[in-house]
């Protein structure tokens, strides 16, 4: 049964999509069967995996509203073990019909139930907004990964997110398996980064990961050309950080010889 992991932060621009794309790519490269789900109507994850130009006749809209099977909209990517549920602009119109559906917060979970046996990991990239679709994503997930920028505003956003999760637990009696918080675009030369890291470990020790994703232009360049960082520069610092992230979250260790040659 697939482990469902959600990349979420209500604050935009924290690097959720870039890291989620690299994270899923790396899992697939390690031989895992990975399904990535793009829940953002802007389709940035779809673009990161170089699938935005493909015409998508059906989308998650038809799966949730019309009850079409999710398997009909899953598309392959360049990497054999990596599949994608792409996003289209129709997702932006999903909120209203979803609002009127019975058990509206559980529709994504129901849709994923039909395919989760076929994958080892389902990685969900949600939009940075507090809405019914992101609530569906939370309730559909087993674990949540929260990337943070090393600044105060992201820390404040984390506060809102954790309080929202607590209220979801109270209202729905739904509990995530684990929550992971890690820093993105970390630069040890900036005092604010050190201060942020210290604050996360001090106030949220049960969620804080040791791994930080260091500041790098490589991941930005890779996503802008629709390549994975592991294709563009597998030996870059950020590639190493993503590997560490995968290891720390999942306890998955790769064969070190794969990346020995520069």
């Amino acid at each position: 049964m697939a482990k469902k992991q959600l990349f979420l932060n209500y604050k935009g621009g924290t690097g959720k999509t870039s890291i989620a794309a690299a994270y899923g790519y790396y899992l697939a490269k390690m031989g895992k069967k990975v399904l990535m789900v793009d829940l953002d109507a802007q389709a940035h994850l779809t673009a990161c995996l170089n699938q935005e130009s493909v015409h998508h006749e059906k989308s998650l809209y038809s799966v949730i509203v019309n009850g079409d099977p999710l398997s009909e909209i899953i598309i392959p990517t360049q990497l054999p073990g990596l599949k994608l549920v792409p996003s289209t602009i129709s997702l932006s119109a999903l909120e209203q019909p979803l609002f009127n559906m019975p058990l509206r917060e559980f529709q994504l979970r129901r849709a994923l139930k039909n395919v989760e046996r076929d994958y080892d990991f389902i990685v969900i990239d949600s939009s940075p907004s507090i809405n019914l679709l992101s609530l569906n994503a939370i309730i559909a997930s087993d674990e949540m990964l929260i990337p943070l920028l090393a600044d105060f505003l992201s820390f404040h956003g984390l506060k809102l997110l954790l309080e929202t999760l607590a209220s979801i637990e109270r209202d729905f009696q739904f509990y995530l398996g684990k929550i992971y918080v890690f820093l993105n675009r970390y630069n040890p030369d900036y005092p604010i980064c050190l201060e942020s890291k210290e604050a996360i470990h001090k106030f949220y020790p049960q969620y804080a990961l040791k791994t930080v994703i260091n500041e790098s232009q490589d991941i930005i360049n890779a996503s802008s050309v629709g390549m994975s960082i592991f294709e563009m520069n597998p030996n870059s610092k950020v590639s190493c950080d993503i590997r560490e992230l995968v290891k720390e979250v999942n306890g998955i260790y790769e064969d070190a010889r794969e990346y020995a040659v520069v």
Binding site: G67, L103, F152, A166, G177, E195, A199
Partner: protein, 170 residues
């Protein structure tokens, strides 16, 4: 002094399933998901299945009744208009006949008056003729009288010198 980080810590934290707290219920068993699917199927059947009360036949009957009522209404309108038109025509005919009768009477009066006028003109002409006659008679009588007077004065005139001559006149 507290930093901004310290004053912006979440007041309530999610417990998660990995928490050590005992007795955390974990909902959404497979049975719960079955219920979600069944509920959705039931909802879909309710909104897409056959409507109760045989809506389509009722709708068709109501539609036919409405069409029949509309046709009956328009036919009655036509018949009413026709009857009204006949009534108006009859009234107009009666009016026309009465006008014709009146016209006839007026013509008769006109004829009568014309006759009277003729008669009066004849009478006038007769009277004019009489008048002329009388005028002629009067003129002739006047002339005779003048002649008679003239003659007598002439005779008088003639007899006066003789009287003077004879000494009879004072």
């Amino acid at each position: 002094m507290k930093t901004k980080f310290e004053t912006n810590v979440a007041a309530e934290l999610p417990k998660t399933r990995m928490s050590q707290e005992p007795g955390l219920p974990w909902k959404l068993d497979p049975e719960d998901l079955e219920k979600v699917s069944a509920g959705k199927d039931e909802y879909k059947a309710a909104i897409s299945g056959a409507f109760p009360l045989k809506t389509r036949p009722v709708f068709l009957i109501v539609l036919l009744a409405a069409i029949f009522a509309a046709i009956t209404y328009f036919v009655s309108l036509v018949l009413t208009d026709s009857a009204n038109t006949h009534t108006v025509a009859d009234n107009k005919e009666v009016t026309m006949l009465s006008m014709q009768t009146t016209l006839g009477k007026i013509n008769n009066e006109k004829n009568t008056l014309s006759e009277n006028i003729g008669q009066l003109e004849k009478r006038v002409s007769e009277l004019n003729a009489q008048k002329e006659l009388f005028a002629t008679v009067i003129e002739s009588l006047t002339k005779k009288t003048d002649d008679a007077v003239g003659q007598s004065e002439t005779e008088k005139a003639q007899s006066a010198p003789q009287a003077i001559k004879s000494g009879t006149v004072n």
